[in-house]
């Protein structure tokens, strides 16, 4: 399913790849600088949420239950990383 999804919406996933690659690069540029790293994690999470809204709007299935699903997963990722690293 993930591959079929990517083939169906290549530009959406290209955008996601750029967001995530940007996060990885900037995280390592700011190694040992927790203030910046924390901001990078927040920014990446916000960008992923924005991407999900954009992606599902284009797909035509943007519903509240989907937004809540994204919010829950994003919150989990943010809580694990920020409470562990900072």
């Amino acid at each position: 399913m993930p591959l079929t999804e990517i083939k169906k919406h290549p530009y959406d996933f290209l955008l996601l790849a750029i967001i995530l690659l940007g996060a990885v690069i900037s995280f390592f540029i700011f190694s040992y600088e927790p203030h910046y790293q924390r901001r990078i994690i927040y920014l990446t999470s916000f960008a992923y949420l924005a991407w999900s809204l954009f992606h599902h709007y284009r797909k035509g299935d943007l519903h509240l239950s989907i937004i809540i699903e994204y919010l829950a997963l994003i919150l989990l990722a943010v809580v694990i990383t920020t409470s562990t690293l900072f």
């Binding site: 399913m1 990517i6 995530l20 600088e33 994690i41 989990l76 990722a77 990383t81």
Partner: protein, 285 residues
């Protein structure tokens, strides 16, 4: 019965609206609460039994001076002379951070780095301070400083002539750690330049530290970052596995459902997980 429960919690089926129960927002919220609880327990341990958790270190004053001068030579700058008075001010600063439980250039009571220089009687025309904590070795600490523009500016500042280092072990916020303070300076006049000692005074100065952990290198302390990373890693692997299995069964059963993108979730969580996994120990200020 067990099989049905397993399917209900771990696999997408009609009974759970084609999404494993553990992947539904309510259960994700439980994971968040569980993780926060785990982190609170680690924090509580630092308060109940200060010093059980900590970062071990093999940083030495001499290595910090050597690596600093190595960076200066690489930048065609003259080496800094070791100054024992600057080392005393750096050590006093580190001790003050342990005593007043803070991690910053300025103390909560308003003491600035320059007050430590002056308290030791070092009259300077220009001075600077770099701080580091939780590093295991001098090389990675120096790399961290060199990667930060402001810390690098101190290390390769052509105006500085002297250096002093404070390496002090102690307990900060309930966690055993090593604080490293680099003090840079140029004395006001040549007459004020103190004699450079032939030998480094690391050991002598370090033993003056109030919270010194004698022989801390050999002491067994639990690294709090490693403990948190272990639980964080386990949680990420578990959630990622659930999403992969969920995606596999959805495509296998050709289920149409209203749900978030599995590819998106896997990519996002994988990247955040990698950031957590490859994050390095140590902080500079």
């Amino acid at each position: 019965m067990v099989k049905r429960l397993w399917q209900h919690y771990f696999l997408p089926s009609e009974a759970n609206n084609h999404k494993a129960l553990l992947l539904q927002p309510a259960f994700i919220s439980l994971f968040i609460i569980g993780y926060l609880l785990n982190q609170s327990l680690i924090k509580a341990l630092t308060l109940i039994k200060p010093g059980v958790l900590g970062y071990s270190s093999e940083i030495t004053t001499q290595k910090v001076v050597d690596l600093t001068n190595q960076q200066r030579r690489a930048n065609q700058l003259p080496e800094l002379k070791y100054n024992s008075i600057l080392s005393q001010s750096a050590t006093k600063k580190a001790q003050d951070m342990f005593a007043n439980n803070y991690w910053a250039h300025n103390s909560p009571t308003g003491t600035s780095p320059w007050d430590f220089f002056q308290a030791e009687g070092y009259q300077y025309s220009i001075a600077g301070e770099n701080l580091a904590k939780d590093f295991y070795d001098t090389d990675s600490m120096m790399k961290a400083w060199m990667k930060s523009p402001t810390h690098r500016a101190n290390i390769v500042n052509p105006k500085y002539q002297e250096i002093g280092i404070g390496v002090v072990n102690g307990t900060l916020n309930g966690v055993k750690t090593t604080l490293v303070v680099q003090h840079f300076g140029t004395p006001l006049a040549a007459a004020d330049i103190p004699q450079t000692p032939k030998t480094y005074q690391t050991e002598e100065i370090t033993t003056q530290a109030k919270d010194l952990v004698a022989g801390s290198k050999k002491e067994l302390v639990i690294n709090p970052l490693a403990v948190s990373k272990f639980f964080g890693t386990a949680m990420f692997i578990f959630i990622l596995s659930l999403i992969v299995v969920d995606a596999y069964y959805t495509i296998k059963n050709q289920t149409f459902r209203l749900a978030g993108s599995s590819a998106g979730h896997i990519s996002f969580l994988l990247v955040i997980f990698l950031l957590l996994l490859f994050s390095r120990q140590g902080t500079i200020f």
